[in-house]
């Protein structure tokens, strides 16, 4: 069969540095095709060349047997290639309808926008996705997941022949992911092709037909998903031997093997205004305590409450030094707690600041000498961690926004490690980073746990939790409902515990999960 899209010998360099070297991509009609690779492998660049964000230096692109040369994303969209970006590119203050039909509004005979038709059309489009909402409300009043699905709905509604999804599930919960998969299968059935970019390899096995693997700006392999294993794909991405990886385990965290020390922190019956109703957690030296549960079950909220970011309505947090808990995050930090937040962009990095300044923000009070920041000591610490954590950068004065996701995350991890904490709260420490960086971050965490640091780990990846945690506290609807112990936890037993507590919940609904 003639491919729908063929990209051949694509070269692109930025400021003399090659980003793509003779990269290739071929998509068949009605195919769901994964593009995978570590951050910096060239996936985004390749896609951006296709959608007209960047110009290629050389190479050929044909789409539907005609040469393709989109000069802008709009032009690409008008010619049948739609893109859903990782970052939501929608207008939260305007209505759902406006967001879906923006730029393609139905008109009345007088040339005005036909709102009745617009709302009807939007409702139709969304109902294909199993979404039934008031489309006249501002988009921002709905959950991130709904917003994401709206972005997808918009792209699909434009009669595209190829839809590009860049990390579409990163802000969706399990149920919404299923909805999305349904949509992808629906597109496939209609003969629409999908390019699917995701860090979650498990997802590929659910919906993708083939995968193109990229490494260092080149296309290194094209695999049939049905004939591939997860290990094989990872080996392709890293350019390593599958056996070697297999021996090391899928995560670099050793749950159940840690030497548990004295009690570090005890949180009992935590209750806050943020959907946290009754959570109890204790963390000892040298152990990893996992928080398991669905999105919205109160995992992040529990961490925020412990860190004194949210005010307690009930319950207590106690450590040896602070038996009455903390009055603000500053006090929590002083008593040796670090909090690596989930939302790197909103609560983690300060984008315009340099790597050096970002890394030492929390440490700053300790770097001040005679009223001024001790620059020499600061640089010494930053350089030490850049080397120890293998952070790749041009210079420590580089703005952090220019770094890849994995390297940004390492800088943020270093920010807390530099404080020499007793307890680290890690909220999704490896989300949105590539496989290589993920292993590295996990082994850094493991190293510190072995030195006696206690870790409270929140992760949506069951694998990370099951293999990494010594104990898992299962949360549901803002309550801690059960506890699992390693060794002995499997993905099935964790899922079972989460599902069981759901069945046992008094109101018996899953509404809390999507909140």
């Amino acid at each position: 069969m003639q491919p729908l899209l063929r990209m051949q010998g694509i070269n692109k360099s930025f400021a003399g540095v090659a980003a793509l070297t003779s990269a290739e991509l071929e998509i068949a009609p009605g195919e769901v095709h994964a593009v995978i690779g570590q951050n910096g492998a060239g996936k985004s660049t390749l896609i951006k060349i296709l959608t007209g964000v960047y110009r290629k230096d050389s190479g050929d692109i044909t789409f539907e047997d005609a040469p393709w040369n989109a000069l802008s994303p709009r032009e690409a969209q008008d010619n049948g290639i739609a893109t859903i970006y990782q970052e939501l590119s929608l207008v939260p203050l305007r209505s759902v309808t406006e967001n879906v039909i923006m730029g393609y509004e139905p008109r009345t005979k007088l040339g005005l926008i036909d709102w009745k038709a617009a709302h009807r059309r939007t409702r139709e489009i969304l109902s294909d996705f199993g979404i039934d909402i008031d489309v006249t409300q501002p988009l921002g009043s709905f959950s991130t997941a709904i917003q994401q699905l709206t972005a997808i709905a918009r792209a699909v509604s434009l009669n595209s022949r190829l839809v590009i999804m860049d990390e579409p599930t990163s802000s969706l919960d399990d149920r919404e992911v299923e909805t999305l998969f349904g949509v992808v299968r629906g597109l496939k059935a209609k003969g629409v092709s999908v390019i699917y970019i995701s860090h979650f390899l498990d997802e590929l096995f659910h919906i993708c037909d083939r995968a193109t693997i990229m490494r260092d700006g080149q296309t290194v392999a094209v695999r049939e998903i049905a004939e591939s294993t997860k290990l094989g794909l990872i080996a392709d991405m890293l350019g390593r031997d599958p056996e070697e990886i297999s021996a090391a385990g899928m995560t670099d965290l050793g749950g159940g093997t840690h030497e548990r020390g004295e009690l570090l922190l005890e949180a009992t019956n935590l209750h806050t205004d943020r959907n946290l109703r009754d959570v109890s957690v204790s963390i000892h030296k040298g152990e990893i305590v996992g928080l398991g549960g669905l999105l919205g079950s109160g995992r992040t909220e529990a961490a925020r409450a412990i860190f004194a970011m949210d005010k307690l309505r009930g319950g207590a947090v106690a450590t040896h030094a602070n038996p009455a808990g903390f009055k603000d995050p500053a006090e929590a930090i002083r008593s040796g707690i670090g909090f690596l937040t989930e939302d790197r962009k909103a609560e983690g990095i300060v984008p315009e600041m340099s790597v050096r300044e970002n890394m030492t923000l929390a440490l700053m009070p300790r770097l001040v000498r005679n009223g001024a920041i001790d620059r020499a000591k600061e640089e010494e610490i930053v350089k030490k961690f850049v080397e120890a954590l293998g952070i790749k950068l041009a210079s420590i004065e580089q703005p952090i926004r220019e770094l890849s996701g994995g390297n940004q995350q390492k800088v943020l991890l270093a920010r807390w490690l530099a404080l020499e904490p007793d307890l680290l709260i890690l909220d999704e420490p490896t989300r949105g980073v590539d496989v290589g960086a993920k292993f590295e971050i996990q082994s850094i965490i493991q190293e510190y746990v072995e030195k006696g640091v206690g870790v409270l780990l929140i992760s949506s990846e069951f694998e990370e939790l099951v293999e990494g945690a010594d104990r898992i506290i299962v949360l549901q609807d803002g309550k801690s409902v059960s506890e699992l112990h390693n060794p002995g936890i499997t993905e099935e037993s964790l899922i079972g515990a989460i599902a069981q507590s759901h069945d046992a919940s008094p109101d018996g609904t899953q509404d809390g999960a999507a909140a």
């Binding site: 400021a15 995050p329 500053a330 990095i349 984008p351 009070p365 041009a394 703005p399």
Partner: protein, 331 residues
């Protein structure tokens, strides 16, 4: 492509391109003026230019810090008028009383701004709009809508009228010391870095245990104090407290800050570039005056404003081009 371990000079310049434009423009304007007009580089012009623009530099410095936190201070123009009236009444006691008194009066209004923004959580635009009207009204009330003549027998007017070595007015010396101090605060102290971090993300900054409220109070009180200093310079340099002055000065200050490459959304800013921005805006007026003096073409005050607006537009356009190229290459 960012994974290289080498230092790329081109990338560095692109990254700092935001404030390159203002320095280049400043040098070009000075060279142009010095070559074209006989008295441009003369002691009298330099001295009076620096004296007058020291006020704008002062308020631009305070504004720069406020904007770095992602806020805005619209009250500075009114605060200048208000403090100029206050210090006119203080002038018999001499500059040693009037100068701190004026700065304190400005800081008091700044503290009010800080209270509204931090404790009452009113958006800075609205809060400082209210104090802008309030300070303006206050200035008119205590002056009875009259310019208040200062006491010429005390040493008060020497501050705004005398020079050191016939070229450096006292006012610019004080403002220069202020600028250097603020530069050090921004680059070397933790409060300065907290200010920048707040503009980059207030929640993130709080999560890192940094004193967000203290830093925000600092910037608004600083901005009020800077406007107070400008009020002292105004009253002392013109020999009168002027309740009707200062209209639109907050916009000049914002323009200087923006021309200096500080992001209006906060998170990134530069003290030297803000000073350069203020000097640049002043130079446009200065050069237009000289051009009028040549008698070939004559721009009215209104046309001067139009030309200044166009000039501002061109500089900002150039800078956004430079930084956009930088951002794209860095992406």
């Amino acid at each position: 492509m960012l994974d290289q371990n080498t230092f790329d000079l081109r990338k560095y310049i692109q990254g700092n391109g935001q404030s390159m434009g203002v320095w280049i423009a400043l040098v070009v304007m000075i060279v142009f003026g010095a070559l074209r007009y006989d008295n441009f580089a003369g002691a009298y012009n330099i001295s009076s230019f620096l004296n007058y623009n020291s006020m704008f530099i002062a308020i631009a410095l305070g504004m720069c810090f406020v904007i770095m936190t992602g806020g805005i201070d619209l009250s500075v123009g009114s605060v200048v008028a208000f403090t100029s009236v206050c210090v006119a009444y203080l002038s018999p006691y001499g500059i040693q009383v009037a100068l701190p008194g004026g700065i304190l009066a400005g800081m008091a209004i700044g503290a009010l701004n800080a209270f509204f923004v931090i404790a009452m959580r009113i958006p800075p635009f609205i809060a400082t709009l209210a104090t802008m009207l309030g300070a303006k009204g206050g200035a008119l009330v205590i002056s009875g809508r009259q310019t208040i003549s200062v006491d010429w027998t005390s040493n008060f007017t020497k501050f705004g009228m005398n020079n050191v070595g016939g070229i450096l007015p006292w006012s610019i010396i004080v403002v220069a010391i202020l600028a250097v101090a603020l530069w050090i605060v921004l680059e070397k102290t933790s409060i300065g870095r907290t200010v920048e971090a707040i503009g980059g993300g207030e929640d993130a900054t709080k999560m890192m245990g940094l004193p967000v409220n203290r830093a925000k109070a600092f910037v608004y009180i600083l901005s009020g104090g800077c406007a107070g200093l400008a009020g002292v310079i105004l009253a002392s340099g013109f020999g009168a407290g002027q309740p009707l002055e200062g209209v639109g000065w907050e916009l000049s200050a914002i323009a200087s800050v923006v021309v200096g490459g500080t992001l209006l959304t906060g998170g990134l800013g530069s003290v030297p570039a803000t000073v350069a921005g203020a000097l640049l805006l002043g130079l446009v007026f200065n050069i237009l005056n000289f051009e009028n003096g040549r008698g070939v073409i004559s721009f009215s005050a209104y046309w001067q404003m139009v030309i200044r607006g166009l000039f501002l537009f061109v500089v900002i356009l150039l800078q956004s081009r430079v930084s956009r190229v930088g951002a794209k290459q860095g992406a």
